[in-house]
Symmetry: C2
Subunit: 344 residues, 2 copies
């Protein structure tokens, strides 16, 4: 087999503030024949996630940035096209860090086989993958939900938020979601079974949140920041826990918001109510992967966890869809279908 | 015995911002003869502590406020003058929540006997009392010091800070103090054995702190807030722990400081570096009192922990001394000697 035609999306320039389509560039390239210890992968599903916004900036966050001119980073579900690694064979479905491209080479060491018996293979990018593990480990290790407690989670129809709320329900919590728009809220309180879901686009969020949390808030799973956080803080009970897994409201900010400086207020709440704030990223709890897979696949099978995907076709649409994701335009876990599940 | 002449200091009015002497009033009163299940106490040493500023405000913090016209709250070491409670006898030395007054009645249920064999009886208000237990439990339970890590603590010559740093040294940490003025800094890095102590009154604290912490900061024991916190935050390492036990820089604030709003910056640090912020008050760890007493009295005996008191004579000076404490004018644990240890 000769070199394979490949399509890649590169980081063309670093955004200042809100990213635009100009920050990306689609190029055609070639993938060489796989070498002696290499696997050739064809991307089927590419995951789009909020953390990608951070990788577009210069400067280390918890991971190195994508360099300008490099392929955008991302995780995908792939089919093995050709394998020179004994443990993989043509047709295997694997999870890989391929970046935004149609084909890629791997030495096989970072691949995980996807078990199609557990659900659609795209679930490895969501409910049975990184977002699921994020929800599960952040909630259980830091949120420590107890039956009868109240949990609040924003982005409640999204990949992580929808799972946080459903796991909290399984653990016996009163569960309040916050989402953008009536349609998402209906889905969260209806299909997902949250006790309530509030639309942050409507006025008086703080008042409505107070009404929805008559016993205060014991766990706030933070992935948003901004006005939602400001509404949550005064409602926190003594000993409330705040796992911090994202701050999507601030990702495009180029400077700090106007004053006053509310840090002393946050610190006073931490002190007086003995709050715990703890940041985490999913790799901090990688050792809990097998517990997670066992629990989550059982919950899915039993219908106790529901999961919604928002799939767009075509690698070329990934930039537009990431921009939409950062504005909350997705409805469920955002995935780009880069190619068919099975070669035609 | 007839009723005893008593002197009391009342909260005369609530401060707005920095308290003044006008917020206090010294009155003469009488203490009745102790009833059948009562003990008459004579105050020997009254403890002054930063938390008292909070009790002067209206509105619940982690404790109810002192009402205007009430005796100021406070903990003291007392002599039992007369006892109608079988477990106490005249001459016993006890720790009590008497408030700011020379005599008081107690039903005996909230008293603790002070063991004079462990050290000067005033130590029950400091190194062997609430400030010591605060330092010990906050550091060990939340700070979780590991040998080789770097700890920073402000108010490093004070009751809590001096002990936090010395316990951290015992646990093998590099220990950096921050204090106000050259004299305190010399004491902290000299007599107390901290690796360094920085004067926050000199310019460029952030730069000097960075130089003193070449390996970053793993634990910041927060009792101050303000500019010290701002200098610490960028130096925190991944997985750093921040026990929050006080915010003395903000206690007199009547409004939030000017902008920008630095909350997103704090939250971003929490997220990216996976920091843990956790507030606590000493009563949260009351169950660890006996471990604390065993460890701390041994460390004192072995000379591994040193302790400095700043004693002022006369109950009438308590308001002035509390005001001074809130400005960092004390040098060591602030105590008011209300009367002699033994009746003359």
């Amino acid at each position: 087999m000769a070199a394979v035609n490949n399509r890649q999306i590169l980081l063309a320039s670093r955004p200042r503030g809100e990213p635009t389509l100009d920050n990306f560039r689609l190029v055609e390239a070639q993938v060489a024949e796989p070498g002696p210890q290499q696997v050739l992968l064809r991307t089927v599903y590419l995951s789009l996630d909020p953390y990608m916004r951070g990788r577009m900036n210069a400067g280390d966050s918890y991971a190195k940035p994508v360099e300008v001119g490099q392929v955008m980073e991302g995780r995908s579900v792939c089919e093995v096209v050709k394998s020179n690694v004994p443990s993989y064979k043509t047709g295997d479905i694997v999870l890989a860090e391929t970046g935004w491209q149609t084909f890629s080479l791997s030495d096989g060491t970072q691949l995980q086989k996807v078990d199609a018996a557990l659900g659609p293979i795209s679930y490895a990018l969501g409910v049975l993958g990184m977002p699921g593990l994020t929800a599960y480990t952040g909630l259980l290790n830091i949120g420590k939900p107890q039956a009868g407690e109240t949990l609040v989670v924003a982005a409640a129809s999204g990949a992580v938020g929808s799972l946080v709320g459903q796991i909290a329900k399984i653990k016996g919590c009163r569960t309040i979601g916050i989402a953008g728009g009536e349609k998402k809220c209906r889905f969260v309180s209806g299909e997902l079974g949250f006790d309530a879901c509030l639309d942050h686009r409507q006025p008086d969020l703080a008042k409505r949140l107070q009404a929805a949390c008559p016993n205060g808030i014991d766990i706030y799973f933070e992935s948003v920041g901004g006005a939602v956080f400001d509404s949550v803080l005064p409602l926190c009970n003594n000993f409330a826990r705040i796992p911090v897994c994202g701050l999507i409201a601030h990702y495009n900010a180029t400077e700090l918001p106007a004053g006053p400086n509310r840090v002393p207020l946050v610190m006073q709440n931490i002190l007086v109510k003995r709050l715990t704030f703890r940041g985490f990223i999913v790799s901090d709890f990688a050792s809990q992967l097998s517990d997670f897979m066992a629990d989550m696949s059982a919950w899915l099978r039993e219908g106790r966890v529901k999961y919604r995907e928002d799939i767009t076709d075509g690698l070329e649409n990934a930039p537009r869809e990431l921009l939409g994701l950062l504005k909350g335009e997705n409805f469920g876990k955002k995935i780009v279908r880069v190619g068919p599940e099975h070669r035609v």
